[in-house]
Structure formats: C-alpha cells, structure tokens
C-alpha cells in the first residue's frame, strides 16, 4: 500500500470480520454518495458467497474480467493461491483501512464470507495520456519526450536514461487534507546525504492541503519565500532531470504532476538550456552569452530609456537626440508613464495569449500587437523609440530558458523602471545593487545562489559560464 493511501485512512481502522455482509456494510457507509462504487456479488464453485468491490473507471476491464473475476470464481485467488499466468498484481489486506485505501487507489478488492482477509487486485488503469513531446521547453536538437501525469511513468522515463542501481527513490505522503505520493529521486553517491535529509525533512514539514502540482513543493525548498527569483527548476524534460541528478541534485515528482522539481540550483543554471549540451561547445557558449545579454536587456533597456530621456538627454548623441525629440513631440505622457503604459499592455497581451486556446491566442497576440501597436503610434500616445525598446525587451525576455526566471525578470523590470523615472539612473544603479545583494543572500538548500561566482570556484567557471567540451570534464562531465 502506498504511503498516501495509508495516510488517507479516516475511517474505522479495525480488522476485517469473517462476515461478508458486515464488511460490505462498512464499505458502503464509507463510500456513501460515491456512485462509482461497484459491488459484484458472486458464488464460488464450492458455494461460498463473495463480492468483488471496486470503484469503476479506474480499472482495466479486460484484466478485471479475465484475470480477477475468473480466478475468483475458481476460488483460487480468494485463498491467495494465484495461478502463475495471473497478470494482475495481488496482495492481501487484513484491515478495513487497507481495503478502503486500495479502493481509492483504483484496486479491486475481493471479499468472501467466513474469510477475514481481503485480496487486493492491482488491475488499476489510470486514464493517462501517452508520453508526448514537450511544449514548454522546446529545442531544435535533443530528446523531445516530456513527463506526463503519472508518477510511475515519469520515474520510468528518468530510469530509462540512467540505467544504474544507484538511482534511488524515497516516497512520502504530502498533503494534510488529501495526501499525494511524492517521490524524491537521487543518485546515491552523487547527492550528498545532508542535501537528501534536508530535502526530505523540508518536504515532510511542509503543511499544505493538497499537492496539485509538484511546483507547489518549491515553497518547501525555498529559502526566501517572497523572493521573485526561482530557487529550484521546474522541468518537464526527463533529460534535464537526468543531467541534474548526475550533478548531485535531487528531483522531486508528485502524482498527477507532469513535471519535476530539481534542487538545489544556482542563478547561472537558470540560463542553461538542455540543448546547450547537444550543441557544439563554441555555439552553446555563444548562446549562453546571448542569454546573459538578454537578461541585462530585459531588466535595463526600458528603465535606461526612461532615465536618459527624463533626466540625462545630454548623454545622447546629438543626431539621436534630435530624432528622439521629434519622436516624442506630441506624446502627452511623461517617459515613465509612457513606459509603464506600454509595458503593462505588453504583459496583458502576453497573459491573454497564454490563457486563450492556442490557435486563438496566437492569432490574437499577432493581431493585437499589430493593430494596437499601430493605433498607439498613430495616436502619439507613446514614442516609436520606446515601442522599439519595449519590443526588444520582450523579445530578449523570451530567450530566458526557465519560465519562472522569465517571469521574475519581467516583474523586477517594473520597480526598476519606476526608480529610473523617479530618481534617474541612480535608481537603476541602486536597484541593481540591491538585486545583486539579494542574490548573494539567497542560499537555497545551503548552496550559495551565485555559486560559482560568489563564493568563487574558478574550476567550475568553464562549465557554468561557458560550455567546455565534455571530454575535458572527465567522468563528471556535463
């Protein structure tokens, strides 16, 4: 029985009685109002009364018919003597609590009169989808498969990449209201014992009603709950999980969650993409550098525009200054208001594009960008130069591989823009100093967030800042 099922017991925890009717009555009471509860009475060849109980919809009907019901009728299974060709996994239960949990987990339960033991048939079949390609973390080269909503399948996807007995799992039940199975995956000898025990302790201590998705657990691992910066990676790619496990991280999976949580991570890792390891080192290094430039542009381009146009236009070369002044002629807003207006508009457009059905969302995004953009320009509500800066910034932000980091950067741009509008470039410099200090203060699961930069580990720079050839890295190559 799974830990979650065991933890979910809320009814009488007593043992089964020899009376079939009494046992069925307790089950009926517990499942009152659950219309899918099915009780199929049968009589064995020896004349003993029995019943097969299951919650319909969670079983493989063929398995149930041929490998559960048929042996039951022959009474072989009810005594635990299972034929060798029996496909269903069989276990015994002696308490009503175990029976209830098994039913909730989708197993079929065989009960018989004068027999104080139940037989649990794992003929369950969840309505899973097939393993498909990733939507969120796409790449040109490299594997395409992504996790699905099945815990077993997800772990199998990782295990098929890391065929080693050192790949271990620890399963816990998390959730105070409806517990869910959460599995911590790690490679013995790579992940430190301290890290593992810390992760396990934090997940155990985490009090949440229900784990809808594994990303909920990131709160348990985060050092700073209100920091906008992600302190773990949420990925739906098995190859990303496998790579990080090899580097000593742990991965956390939860039932019904199509992604994994990888921790601990560093700031620079959030700019890495799985594709980096499938490209040639020089190309991957260039792409990483481009992402760092994108990071700077995302957070600084618009605030810099606001600061320069509002306060230090003497910094702009004369020809550009004249063009900027002509562009801004007739714009009724201050540069700060103008920037916030267009930035909020872009964020609304992005959010709407995500929420709408895909074909509609794409169409709307393109149409809105063109139509609204053109209308705004024609009405002189914002200057073209700012529109270019915002467009460029948005484009840059989309090159950040990690979605949480992408959102964090878009979010922190707003306070930086406001500071730039209020106190000029001094605001940008101050904001960046605070952000850097905050990053230095972060230490998710005991690992400095800015490692290997601060504290320095110069040997790691060739793997973290650039992508050194794998053959140089030896056994622990990335």
């Amino acid at each position: 029985m799974t830990p979650s099922a065991r933890a979910a017991v809320t009814h009488d925890d007593g043992g089964l009685t020899p009376s079939l009717d009494e046992n069925l009555e307790v089950i009926r009471k517990a499942f009152q109002g659950v219309e899918e509860l099915t009780i199929r009475p049968f009589t064995t060849q020896r004349g003993r009364e029995g019943a097969l109980v299951f919650v319909s919809g969670l079983q493989d009907r063929d398995q149930l018919a041929f490998h559960v019901i048929a042996p039951l009728v022959e009474e072989a299974a009810i005594t635990g003597e299972v034929p060798e060709n029996h496909l269903a996994r069989v276990s015994m239960a002696g308490t009503l609590a175990e029976v209830m949990d098994a039913l909730l987990a989708g197993q079929a339960v065989g009960l018989a009169d004068e027999w104080p033991v139940a037989v649990l048939y794992a003929a369950d079949r969840r309505p899973d989808r097939a393993v498909a390609s990733t939507d969120r973390e796409q790449g040109i080269v490299g594997p395409r498969e992504a996790f699905i909503e099945s815990l077993e399948t997800n772990i199998a996807l990782v295990r098929s990449r890391l065929r080693t007995a050192r790949l271990k799992t620890r399963t816990l039940a998390v959730g105070t209201s409806v517990p869910v199975d959460v599995t911590i995956l790690y490679i013995d000898g790579r992940a430190s014992a301290t890290l593992l025990s810390e992760v396990e302790a934090r997940v155990r201590r985490f009090k949440v009603s229900h784990v809808d998705n594994v990303s909920v657990l990131s709160e348990a691992l985060d050092q700073s709950k209100w920091s906008p910066f992600p302190q773990s990676i949420v990925t739906e790619r098995p190859d990303v999980v496998a790579m990080n496990l090899l580097e000593g991280c742990v991965a956390i999976f939860s039932e019904s969650s199509p992604c994994a949580l990888v921790a601990p991570i560093t700031f620079i890792r959030l700019f890495h993409s799985a594709e980096d390891y499938y490209l040639r080192p020089a190309l991957a290094t260039a792409v990483r550098l481009l992402r760092v430039i994108a990071f700077v542009l995302t957070t600084t381009a618009v605030p810099a525009y606001v600061a320069v146009v509002s306060y230090h236009y003497e910094m702009i070369p004369l020809r550009v200054l004249v063009a900027t002044a002509q562009n801004r002629a007739g714009v009724p807003f201050t540069p700060l208001a103008e920037a916030l207006l267009i930035d909020v508009g872009v964020e609304l457009l992005r959010e709407a594009g995500v929420r709408l059905p895909r074909p509609l969302g794409q169409t709307l995004s393109v149409a809105a960008a063109l139509v609204i953009g053109q209308a705004i320009l024609s009405s002189h509500l914002v200057s073209p130069a700012l529109l270019v800066a915002v467009g460029f910034t948005s484009l840059a932000s989309f090159s950040i591989p990690d979605y949480n980091m992408f959102l964090a950067l878009r979010l922190i741009r707003f306070p930086i823009t406001i500071l730039a509008g209020v106190i000029s470039s001094l605001g940008i410099a101050v904001a960046w100093t605070v952000i850097f200090a905050h990053l230095c203060d972060l230490e998710p699961l005991g690992q400095p967030y800015l490692a290997p930069m601060a504290p320095p580990d110069f040997r790691q720079w060739k793997y973290e800042f650039i992508r050194a050839p794998r053959s140089r890295a030896g056994e622990d190559s990335r």
Binding site: H312, E314, M315, L419, V422, S424, L426, E443, M453, A454
Partner: protein, 358 residues
Amino acid sequence: MSNNQSGESGTLSAVALGPFALTALVYVATVRADLLGHPWPGTAEAGLPSLLLAHLSAYIVTVVASYVTLIPYSRLNRSIYGPTGSRSIREWLALASVVASQGLAIVIQHSTYAEMLRTFALFRTPNWAVGVTLAIPVWYIARMRTVSVLRMTQAFFYLQILALPVLFLPLGEWRVSNLVGLLGRPSLAVLPALPPVLHLYFGAPALLLLDNKASVTVARRLIPAALALVALVLVLITVFVPGVLGRELLAIEAYPGMKYFQTTRIPNVERNDLVILFAFANVAISASAVLGHGIALALGAVGLGKEAAAVAVAILVAASTFIPMIPGGSQLYFVASAIALIVTNVFLLIIPKARTHE
C-alpha cells in the same frame, strides 16, 4: 567583545575568509566613491612626490594598524581593572574604533558622492530623495548575514575589476609635461597631503577587529597584499589624473576625478562622466554597506542590536548627504576626519593585541 556574533548573524571566523574573499572585502570597502571627488590638495600644494609618499605612509600605517600588535594592552588592563573591567574596556574601545573609523568613512564618502550627484546630474532632485535612495540599499545590505556580505563583496569585486580598464581610457591625453610642475615640488612636504590620502584607506581592516579567531588571524596576515591592490589603484589614479589635467586644472577643479573621465570619449555616449558617476553608485553603496555591516556587528556584539544598528547606519548615510549643504560643513568635516584618524589609528594598534589575549 562578547561572543554573541555566532550563528545567523555570522562572524568573519565562521565563514571562509580565504585570500580571495579577504582581497574582495578590503577592496570593496576601501575603494570608495569619494575617490572621484578627491580634491588632490596634496598635488597642488605639495607636489606629486609628496602625494605618493603620503600613499606609501597611509599604506604602511593601515597595514601596521591592522596587522602588527604593539601594545600588551589587555594584560595591563587585566592587572588594573580585573577580568570584567578589562573586558568591558576592550569591548567599548573596539566599538569606538569601529564606529568612528567606519562611520566616518561612510560620512566622507556619501557627503562627497551626493554633492557630485547634485553638481553633475541631479540638479533639481531634492536632497532627501538622494539620501533615502542611497540609504535604503545600505540598510538592506548592512543587516544581511556576514557570509552574504562577503559573497556580495566578491560579486562586486569582479564587476569593479572588470570596470578597471575604464581608468585607462583617458590616458590618450596624458602628458609628462603636465607633471613637470608637480614633480618639482618638495617631496618632504608630505603633511598637507597625508590626511586626505589617509581618508582613502579608511575601511575594511577595522572590520577584522570584530573577530580575532584563527581564520581571521590568518586572514589578517594577508592584508598587506590585499591593501597593495587598493594602493595600486589609488596610486594609478594619483599619477594619471594630474598627467591628464595638468597643474592649472587641478588647482581649480572641485572634482578632478570626474574631469579626468570627461576627457575621454565613448562612442555613442556624449557624457561618459555621467555613466561613470552612476556606476559609482554601486561602489558607494557596497562600500558603505560593508562598513555599515561592520558597525552593525560591533553594536550587535555589545548587545545594542544589529537591526537597530543597520537602521542607524542608513540614517547616517542619509544624513551625510546634507553635510555639504551645512555652512562651514567643510571645517566640520576636517575636524571630524582628524578625530577619526586619531581614533582609528590609535585604537587599531591597541585592539588586536587586546583581543589576542582574551
């Protein structure tokens, strides 16, 4: 000093204070934004050799103060006042030393930097706005854990070292002839040049007073090397700026450092001195934050509360920006500097030995 600095508040001995961390700490806390506003009085009045000699003297004094222990003060105190009395004296001397030296370094830096901001960029911005903008990050960093502050110094150290080549950009205008008048000045007229140069060396070594355990004692031995890097940068500026500006400009420019950077051209940027000025906000805040963290640790160690100390440091930063606006502020500034010089350099000589004998 009491041993209540351990745990979350952090101590220097509790974190890895290796050569790199120590160099970063000393550099970030010592190379400050007031460097841009350094008025070079020594150069104009006493000549370049005097100024270089002043740098050498300041370097030696700072190294000696933070490295060599001369007076067996603790034993003397113990025999006169007993263990409790001597401990109390040590704590308050250390506190006075750290607060005076580092506090004044913060005041000097922020009063100068705020004045430069007002002069070059933020003509109409209210002074309180500049003060608050600079004070908030200092407060935020000063209250962080020591290990985080050390990491921050390392992160900023990379940035500042990467930005160092900017120092060489105006060298196209450097002329030996500009130095001729200055080189001819008597090199022994060092005294006028000494106080402002010593100000530049205020800072990080005093932070080490807060902790005298093994790793910090080892780290203290590396201070001469770490300070040498600081001295190199300061000496380079001292030689470069007069060579580019010449004696006449040096005598009239309020901020020769800013004028120095104005002489160069960066493509597509008209006022590169403003870029430098705003980039120095990072230098100003990080240096003050490190110094402020030292004050917060010192006050926290005698039970005055680290959080409250961080707030006090932030108020000090904000208040510093008003000093140039006070009539006679410059006289006040020099009196305070003189006091701080005495306090720092006398107490720096005393405290390390006192701590060693604890």
